[in-house]
């Protein structure tokens, strides 16, 4: 089970654009749709998700290859990953609270939500299935987080314009038109997929 032969830079760019965790793999869609109503909250959640995914993928890689695999308890890996994510989120919350109260005020409500954000667990499971090495796992984690952040910022900006548009049919208002917008964004992002492949 060797690590795939992928360059660090191309892995980073691919995880932001062509294999965007949200637009190509549908992960983290729930909070994506509900939070993107508001530009400021999107910014906060985007930063929080990027940090949590990056740190969690590093921690989970260590846990996976130094605890789970040697002990042969792969069947428990889902539960262990969830506990690690919850722990990391809790720690991050305490650290931010201690060192930067203003950032804590901005991110406070979003941090607990991240524990059940599918994007975090998704990145970790992808990392496990593709046998990334440590560096690749960290790069993939931060890249995916950045990709999620980029797409929520784009969508939040588009939704600001959409809110003032009266030409949208009544049945499509709100979530419907948002989903269609996400579809178009996905087409744009996936359009590059011939250039870089990471699987």
């Amino acid at each position: 089970m060797n690590a795939p032969n992928v360059g660090i830079l191309s892995l980073f760019i691919a995880s932001i654009l062509t294999s965007n965790i949200l637009l190509a793999n549908f992960l983290g869609t729930c909070s994506f749709i509900s939070i993107s109503k508001d530009f400021k909250s999107s910014m906060g959640l985007g930063i929080a998700v990027t940090m949590v995914i990056g740190i969690c993928s590093a921690v989970c890689w260590v846990v996976l290859y130094y605890i789970i695999v040697p002990l042969g308890i792969e069947y428990l890996s889902f539960i262990i990953f969830i506990i690690v994510i919850a722990g990391v989120v809790q720690m991050l919350e305490m650290i931010i609270d201690r060192f930067s109260p203003s950032l804590y005020m901005a991110l406070g409500i979003f941090l607990p939500l991240i524990t059940v954000n599918c994007a975090v667990l998704g990145v970790i499971l992808f990392m496990q299935i593709r046998y990334y090495n440590f560096i690749q796992a960290v790069v993939f984690g931060f890249g995916s987080g950045a990709g999620w952040w980029l797409s929520i910022m784009l969508l939040a900006s588009i939704r600001r314009k959409l809110d003032n548009n009266n030409a949208i049919p009544a049945g499509l208002k709100g979530t419907g038109i948002t989903l269609i917008t996400i579809g178009f964004m996905a087409m744009a992002f996936i359009g590059f997929s011939g250039m870089i492949a990471i699987q």
């Binding site: 992960l27 506990i83 919850a86 599918c118 998704g122 049919p169 049945g171 989903l179 996400i182």
Partner: protein, 217 residues
């Protein structure tokens, strides 16, 4: 019995997770380009939601408020692990195709949503029915989407070729964007239908109301 019927109707139609709450599109939408995989995922989600709601409803008085979230996640991941192990043992090929998405059922918002919104305040039996109805209500929408995607994307249904020889597959249907478009269209149809039903309802009572006093006179 009426409570049970109301719960079933809510989950399957009036309050369908996908249309009304827009929850849980995350993990399952990714496998909707294949009808068979979708069925398996839907069954998995339904099983985990129903059993998870039942268990959490049994435990609701024992769990301290502070650690409720993490207990919920642990109980749900227990059921998801069962699904994963069963799939690996009996359907290794499908398990491989689904990849990480089986594990991601844990973070599907429907599971936590039902545990929090319904099972935390209701009896075990009713919570089980609620989980079942919500899982299936979510499932039938996804199966419809998967049917369209597989038919147009590969020209097959359950892997059997149904389109004629000169049918050109729509590559877009296999890729992610089409799923978003199809969910949006389904949402549109449902919204229009609901708006019409509501307009009818609104139009009906005033007529009866004005008719009744007239009759009394």
């Amino acid at each position: 019995m009426t409570a049970l019927r109301k719960v079933m109707k809510d989950g399957l139609w009036t309050n369908t997770p996908i249309f009304v709450q827009v929850l849980g599109i995350c993990s399952t939408l990714a496998v909707t380009n294949n009808l068979r995989n979708t069925m398996i995922m839907v069954l998995g989600v339904t099983f985990a939601t129903a059993m998870g709601s039942w268990t959490l409803s049994l435990l609701k008085d024992l769990i301290p408020r502070k650690v409720r979230m993490i207990v919920q996640v642990l109980v749900l991941s227990f059921y998801v692990i069962i699904i994963d192990i069963l799939l690996r043992a009996y359907q290794p090929a499908i398990s491989k195709q689904l990849g990480p998405y089986v594990g991601l059922i844990i973070t599907n918002c429907i599971l936590m949503g039902r545990a929090e919104a319904f099972a935390a305040a209701n009896k075990p039996g009713l919570s089980f029915a609620d989980g079942l109805a919500n899982g299936l209500g979510y499932g039938w929408v996804l199966v419809c989407i998967a049917f369209i995607r597989e038919l147009l994307g590969f020209g097959t249904i359950f892997g059997f070729k149904v389109m004629g020889g000169n049918f050109t597959p729509w590559t877009i249907m296999v890729m992610a964007p089409s799923a978003f478009f199809l969910v949006a269209s389904a949402l549109w149809v449902a919204n229009v239908y609901k708006a019409r039903a509501e307009a009818k309802k609104k139009a009906a009572p005033p007529n009866q109301g004005s008719a009744a006093p007239a009759a009394q006179k």
